[in-house]
């Protein structure tokens, strides 16, 4: 397995708060990697560092062997490294199909192609993916009128529409009805196996992440606490202590 994302000794602080200290992780191509940790442990900060939302203080971040820690957000997204947001971000005034069509991979498009109308195949693909996440019936509704959970599903479908190489998901199951979570796990796994998208997932729901990930990293207080397979992480006393507050 090759490493698609290599994070090496990354530190990031906001004023006096050290959000990330000397973090090194690796994401394997084609796999599902998990990132867990109690609230405030620096998971989202690490995500933001990887996708270029803020400059890092030190360390290096490589995507497919290329240094990306100095690149702006759009450039990184155009390499095929995409993220979803913890607070879902969709285009609320448009309907679901329009949201999907906007998410066409513009990085693979020339200006000439941008000045064309979407083809029947594009519409079919959008509807197919909406069906894939279970939003087919609501595809012509204003997306802002959907429930938070449905908006999350829409955002996930939009990310798939963009044909990313790697997808960073920030708490994909938060706010989703527990009965829908099993369906979502299944869809995430299928996105990984059928579409070949490498997944890197922040998740609080232990059942979900233990079910999916090949490898899990655990952060606590901005530092890397443990890494290993789901079974190793579950058996790690430091991880249990971090979650239950033994510090």
């Amino acid at each position: 397995m090759t490493k698609i994302i290599e994070v090496n000794g990354v530190s990031k602080s906001y004023g006096g708060v050290k959000a990330n200290t000397d973090i090194s992780i690796e994401v394997e191509k084609g796999g599902i990697t998990g990132l867990i940790g109690p609230n405030g442990s620096g998971k989202t900060t690490l995500f933001n560092s990887i996708v270029g939302y803020h400059p890092i203080d030190s360390g290096s971040i490589k995507f497919e062997g290329q240094e990306i820690s100095k690149k702006p957000v759009q450039d990184i997204a155009r390499l095929g490294l995409l993220r979803t947001f913890q607070q879902t971000r969709i285009y609320g005034d448009m309907n679901c199909v329009e949201n999907m069509l906007i998410s066409m991979p513009h990085r693979k498009m020339t200006i000439r192609e941008a000045f064309t109308t979407n083809t029947r195949a594009d519409h079919d693909r959008a509807e197919h993916l909406l069906d894939f996440v279970g939003l087919y019936e609501k595809r012509f509704l204003r997306s802002g009128s959907l429930s938070f959970g449905q908006q999350k599903l829409l955002e996930f479908a939009m990310a798939l529409m963009n044909e990313p190489t790697v997808l960073l998901l920030d708490e994909p199951t938060a706010g989703i009805n527990p009965t829908l979570i099993n369906g979502l796990i299944d869809r995430l796994k299928r996105a990984n196996s059928e579409f070949g998208i490498t997944l890197f997932i922040i998740e609080h729901n232990m059942r979900v992440i233990m079910n999916m990930a090949d490898r899990i990293y655990c952060l606590a207080h901005g530092e890397l606490l443990a890494a290993g397979s789901p079974t190793e992480i579950q058996g790690d006393q430091r991880v249990v202590d971090a979650y239950l507050g033994a510090h």
Partner: protein
């Protein structure tokens, strides 16, 4: 519905062609209406569709006026001597010089204004929301002041262009009406197609959530520059035609008229409904009618009435006519729940 549409457009086109003969006394008014329509439609490209409220689009109108005039003069005379009020020279233009100069001038106005928008966009598109509005307003005011101190183009005196050839000025009125109408119709046809493209979807994405659009890998800056440049191209041409129509214009009140036309185009779009194809057109017609009626029947109070209209629109009626329709009749705009037909190869939930 599908049969009605071409009939509607043909009837509309016939009306546009016949309008100056139906109302021969209003030829110049109708030409002015086209300016409002063109400026509103182009303002909506960035303001309504892309979420960048420019208060400085009038800059392209003024620049277009000056560029078209300077190019038109320069094919026959030295611009510096021509504009020198103290020179006292008399300059005659042959018909060929007049029309060739105007044609070249309008092309130059469009192209150069697009270029100005591109350069200005690089500087200003880093600003968001109200900062962009103030930044563009500042650029337009500054441009007016710069030009009014530039003696080569006549300074504060402005430029007096040659008069339309022939003795019957009705011909000139018709000519300028149709010139504006052609520009407006071409712009409408262009936008009708433009708003169906992937490119337009991308600028809508920038309007609704630019950060998300960036995170999805859209070329946001490039798309913003192209959109504003296209808008500036048409505004520049409209400004150029206006210059020839007015014959004489000066920088602050006519060309770079920030507080009149510069604001009116925004109000037209708000009144009609921004982010729609028809909203700016309907708004421009309404606004122009209200403006002329108050000028006729409320003389002395016309600016108060116009100010009141602007305040009421901005405070109570921001979505405009089309936005209001979309709210009360969402099903007219395609919002619906649909039953799911079984898609091939997809297991049902």
């Amino acid at each position: 519905m599908t049969i009605l549409r071409p009939i509607f457009y043909l009837a509309l086109l016939a009306f546009i062609i016949a309008a100056p003969f139906i109302a021969p006394d209003f030829r110049t008014q109708l030409a002015t209406l086209w300016i409002f329509i063109i400026l509103s439609m182009t303002w909506d490209m960035t303001g309504g569709q892309m979420g960048y409220n420019s208060l400085g689009n009038i800059l392209f109108y003024g620049a277009g006026m000056y560029i078209a005039a300077v190019v038109g003069i320069s094919i026959a005379y030295n611009v510096g001597e021509y504009t020198n009020a103290a020179g006292g020279g008399i300059y005659k233009f042959t018909d060929t010089q007049y029309f060739l100069g105007m044609a070249l001038g309008l092309i130059a106005a469009g192209v150069l204004c697009a270029g100005i928008a591109w350069v200005l966009g690089y500087l200003l598109f880093g600003l968001r929301g109200p900062y962009f509005a103030i930044g563009t307003l500042g650029a337009a005011i500054a441009a007016g002041e710069l030009v009014s101190n530039w003696e080569w183009v006549g300074g504060g005196q402005g430029i007096a262009l040659p008069v339309f050839p022939g003795d019957d000025y009705e011909n000139a009125k018709l000519f300028f009406y149709y010139l504006f109408a052609v520009t407006g119709v071409v712009l409408f046809i262009f936008l009708r197609w433009f708003y169906t493209t992937r490119f337009a979807a991308a600028i809508n994405a920038i309007r609704d959530d630019e950060e998300k659009a960036e995170a999805m890998g859209l070329h946001t800056l490039r798309y913003k520059l192209i959109t504003w440049s296209i808008a500036a191209f048409f505004v520049g041409i409209a400004g150029g035609i206006s210059g020839y129509q007015l014959i004489h214009f000066e920088p602050l009140e006519t060309a770079f008229q920030t507080i009149n036309l510069g604001i009116f185009m925004v109000v037209c779009v708000l009144l009609g409904g921004k982010g729609t194809l028809w909203g700016p057109i309907i708004g421009a017609i309404l606004f122009h009618v209200v403006k002329e009626v108050t000028w006729n029947y409320l003389l002395g109070w016309q600016w108060v009435a116009l100010g009141a209209l602007i305040v009421i629109t901005v405070v109570y009626f921001q979505d405009g006519l089309m936005g209001w329709l979309a709210r009360v009749k969402p099903e007219w705009f395609g919002e619906r729940v649909t039953e799911k037909p079984a898609l091939a190869g997809e297991p049902a939930e």
